[in-house]
Symmetry: C2
Subunit: 254 residues, 2 copies
């Protein structure tokens, strides 16, 4: 690690036209000059506490997994962080072996939480970004909780597929195709199922024509509407997805 964490005196007011990254992710470019950029590859662990201080991570590309393990139990993935999402080390529960792992190759910005706070104090755009990122995280965790507590296994899988499709899919000849940087075990640990059960559901979805044949690390959703019909949370996820895009468009227009 050559660049190290930025210190407070480097934080200063900057006004620039929105860069392309701002337009697509909603992350204020004012932050860029103050971060350490980290490239990730599949399975790479990121230290949550850097130099023992509260640290913030902003996902630029790829997906981050925040997982927690309590003694005697298998791990639970408590959150998926997509491009534009923000994560702070203080989000991780104490005493829970919380770790942050890259699901696939990608890029992450790292910045000391106090430096980010200082930026937010002088840049209203940054403040708004922080507020929204945090509120949307809590709302999404709430959806995750409903899913874990109330959905049966088929609904859980449908919900995840809809979420991933809305987040990262590109359309190609009727299919919504997206990278699947998770192993079966990862998905199972996110949904609170076991891998065998998950495999059964996937097979069922395949034979029902909802998804295409899996090509290892890539997923092709054939009938997103039918999938959404099986997920009680679909409407909420769509709403969030729409809100995010409008929000980004709005910010880019400013």
């Amino acid at each position: 690690m050559t660049s190290g964490a930025k210190t407070d005196e480097q934080v200063q007011f900057k006004t620039e036209p929105p860069c392309s990254a701002c337009k697509t992710l909603g992350v204020p470019c004012a932050i860029e000059g103050h971060v350490t950029s980290v490239r990730t590859r599949r399975g790479q662990m990121l230290a949550l506490q850097h130099d023992r201080v509260d640290t913030a991570f902003i996902v630029r590309a790829g997906v981050l997994i925040l997982q927690a393990t309590f003694p005697g139990r298998t791990r639970q993935i408590v959150g998926l962080y997509f491009p534009g999402d923000l994560l702070r080390s203080s989000f991780a529960p104490p005493c829970a072996e919380a770790t942050l792992v890259a699901a696939g190759s990608g890029e992450v910005w790292r910045i000391r939480a106090d430096a980010l706070e200082a930026l937010a104090a002088v840049e209203p755009v940054v403040r708004r970004y922080l507020d929204e990122a945090v509120a949307s995280r809590i709302a999404r965790q709430a959806i995750h909780a409903v899913m874990l507590g109330q959905f049966d296994c088929e609904q859980k899988v449908a919900t995840l597929l809809v979420e991933l499709a809305l987040r990262t899919a590109t359309r190609s000849s009727g299919y919504a195709v997206f990278e699947m940087p998770f192993s079966r075990k990862d998905i199972a640990d996110y949904l609170g199922l076991n891998p065998d059960t998950l495999s059964r559901i996937m097979s069922r979805f395949k034979s029902a024509g909802l998804i295409g044949q899996s090509e290892r690390s890539r997923m092709a959703v054939r009938d997103l509407a039918a999938l959404a019909a099986r997920s009680p949370a679909a409407q909420s996820l769509i709403e969030i997805s729409v809100a995010r895009r409008q929000d980004v468009a709005l910010r880019a227009a400013v």
Copy 2:
């Protein structure tokens, strides 16, 4: 509702010695002059969006329940809010019939989110309170997610009892006694169980001597250590509880 929401011009800088409420809950008293105080009684619903604007709630006494229901499923309680906790309407997932309900009698401060934000901009104490309240909420939701996804039903119940004991119990002759402002169904909906199963677990705990005979809306924990031993999350909850107290003590000392 006679007082109505505070408007922006009412927000101004105030510096006072910490009041007793600050010392016990960690909520900066600078906020007090700008809030609408609401008294609650059991089952009372609080409108999440007041006058269609993002609203913040700060619990002063009692417990608030944030619940969400997706179409075709029973409700899930996604969070319990104890005295000192902060809640914003943007924390509720969209399209999910999210409602905020008082679990028992108590007091809640209500303030427009933008007014609170303006306060935080000029009062570092308020800013720090907001940051910590939000981070601790996310961390607690993560613990909730692990519980919902990985714990068996006995561990879930043990976890809730430990959490409530740490939050609100008073010791009396060896027992940790606390008010139980939740019905069996409330608890079941928080833990992702059904009420019948929950009842069985409670009976099992009673005959094992972990808890005393229930006296309707009051719980007496007989052997907190044994209960904690059955909850993989006990250590985390204790940690959070200790951190909160130290934090409050620290702030009161300033």
